[in-house]
């Protein structure tokens, strides 16, 4: 087992292993200290940060669905300044790549948040959450319009030299298009998928189950859809990929690597199995050694079709 090399290189970003926790499902990291040693993880993506603190949506905010969950948290977060002052320093003692997930309602907001993050001590990279409604464009998601997306990524690219990850929305006809646009804008890495737009209805109450009416679907239910999208993006572009969507164990992670991902992110799984991400690191090494794979990166795109 010790023989397996788990390190992965995603362009400018090197991770000690390919297991990264996903934004919005891992708090600001330290919430998980009672369950695992953060230093075992390849990386941590923190909760989406906006320019100012946000209180989020009114509850109910989540709903359980068959093998999945809908959420409409509304990006409740402490804001970028509190993150830099309080949350990021608390992660300095840990040997893991800390990635900031960034949210904006307008292009300028993304740029401003990234300007503040650029050069922050202990920050390994920035992930742009482009599944946000663009208030200047009538609420359309940044991530679904390739031109808008390329412009946004280029604008952010100008203000930061940190590794730049663009997290793609799956709510599109062909995910290859935003993938190419993000790369054209200057993305170093693509991560996918964010949640699928969905809705739950309470038949008894004849009401949407979420106060926000619509929410994002995550969890094992979406795994086949996410795997397909990773496979497709891997064929469409040449940059490294972080794959995610319903990963619950090391075998699921291997599937994403085989589909073309260089690393994976663990989301919903953290809620029900808070120590799970760390377990997966060990299990992945074990899986590799059992299959005589010396370097985990050999798995990437290793699908025999």
């Amino acid at each position: 087992m010790s023989a397996v090399d788990l390190t992965v290189k995603l362009g400018p970003l090197t991770l000690k292993n390919p297991v990264v926790t996903a934004s919005g499902t891992f708090g600001y990291g330290t919430e998980f200290s009672p369950f695992l040693d953060l230093s075992t993880l390849g990386g941590i993506v923190v909760k989406g940060l906006s320019l100012r603190p946000r209180r989020g949506n009114e509850p109910p905010r989540i709903w359980e669905t068959p093998s999945g969950m809908l959420n409409a948290i509304g990006l409740q977060n402490v804001g970028v300044d509190a993150f830099l002052q309080e949350k990021l320093p608390a992660l300095l003692p840990f040997d893991t790549a800390v990635l900031a997930n960034v949210y904006g309602e307008r292009e300028e907001e993304y740029v401003q948040v990234c300007e503040r993050l650029d050069g922050a001590r202990g920050l390994a990279g920035i992930e742009l959450n482009v599944s946000c409604p663009n208030t200047a464009k009538g609420g359309m998601e940044f991530g679904v319009d390739p031109m808008m997306l390329e412009r946004l990524v280029a604008a952010v690219r100008r203000v930061t030299s940190l590794p730049l990850i663009v997290k793609l929305s799956p709510n599109v006809t062909d995910i290859g298009e935003p993938a190419r646009a993000a790369v054209a804008g200057g993305a170093d890495i693509l991560s996918l998928v964010n949640t699928f737009t969905g809705m739950g209805i309470d038949a008894e109450g004849r009401r949407p189950v979420l106060k926000n009416v619509v929410g994002g679907l995550s969890g094992p239910a979406i795994k086949p859809l996410a795997l397909y999208m990773v496979h497709r993006v891997a064929a469409a572009v040449d940059v490294p990929i972080m794959g995610m969507g319903g990963i619950m164990n090391a075998v699921d992670a291997v599937e994403f690597l085989l589909a073309g991902a260089n690393a994976v992110q663990i989301g919903t799984s953290n809620f029900l199995n808070p120590g799970g991400a760390a377990t997966m690191v060990g299990d992945l090494a074990e899986w590799c050694s059992r299959h005589r794979i010396g370097e985990v990166r050999e798995l990437t795109g290793g699908l025999r079709t």
Partner: protein
């Protein structure tokens, strides 16, 4: 560290009227548990249902490997339904202890009321044991729809005075349990009333009513709130509730609660749809 792992079900006793007592072989959880703290439990195989369900710990018992934790639960949906179908020997996935416990009264001589509505009885056997040990003399006020729903009274340590209320009048006071609380507080002199302490657990409307009673009598109290919980340890941000004087944000019931001091919940803003 908080325990997260698999534990064995040692006993799953039918208490009647869809209520059960589950005894779990979970010494790592039980040893540091406090009253009103809870565990997240997943029962059954597969990913449907996906998320854990919160349960208060009703009792700490003796078990083959140290202490056991004992849960009283009522079958209301899928998760509780699956749990009710398990036999001794089944494995459950458990995370805990979680949440803020009920703080014990500083002065054991004050009147202490345990106000339970329905399955809100769950945390009180454990709390009672701790209160007795601290020299308090708690009185249980226990309300339910009907007398058959008044389960678990035999799980309390001896020496707890009990009064019951039923909506349909089939047992004890015909009416709400909060009316019993109101009466008891009203019977106290002002100074005693202001030092009296109530611990409340039950459905949300009953807790709002109890909170109003406590405010009217200027009595002290702690409420243990309910919410659908995605994680139980503060990261999914699903279990939020607005507090009085905190207009710009929310508390998380799972980590800031489930116990909150009486008077702290902004009931007006918290009404869910």
């Amino acid at each position: 560290m908080i325990f997260s792992g698999t534990v064995a079900l040692l006993e799953n006793r039918d208490l009647g009227h869809d209520n059960f007592l589950a005894v779990l072989d979970a010494p790592e959880v039980g040893q540091s548990m406090e009253p009103a703290q809870f565990v997240m439990v997943r029962a059954g195989e597969g990913t449907d249902p996906l998320l854990g369900r919160p349960y208060s710990v009703a009792r700490i018992g003796e078990g083959p490997n140290g202490v056991t934790i004992q849960l009283i639960y009522k079958v209301v949906g899928r998760g509780t339904g699956i749990m009710a179908g398990l036999r001794a020997g089944a494995e459950l996935s458990v995370v805990g202890p979680l949440g803020q416990p009920f703080p014990l009264p500083e002065d054991p001589q004050v009147p202490v009321f345990l106000v339970a509505g329905g399955i809100g009885i769950a945390p009180f056997p454990f709390l009672s044991a701790r209160l007795l040990a601290a020299g308090c003399h708690p009185r249980l006020l226990y309300g339910a729809r009907s007398s058959g729903d008044l389960v678990g009274r035999d799980l309390f340590p001896p020496g707890i005075e009990m009064e019951v209320a039923t909506d349909d009048g089939s047992g004890g006071h015909a009416g709400f349990v909060t009316e019993l609380l109101d009466r008891h507080l009203a019977a106290l002199d002002t100074r005693t009333r202001q030092r009296a302490m109530a611990y409340v657990c039950g459905p949300t409307p009953m807790m709002a009513a109890a909170d109003a009673v406590l405010a009217r009598h200027e009595s002290r109290g702690h409420l243990s709130l309910e919410a659908f919980m995605g994680c139980g340890f503060g990261v999914c941000l699903s279990c939020v509730v607005p507090l009085v004087g905190q207009e710009t944000g929310y508390a998380r019931i799972c980590v800031d609660g489930p116990t909150f001091p009486a008077g702290s919940i902004d009931w007006h803003r918290s009404q869910s749809p």
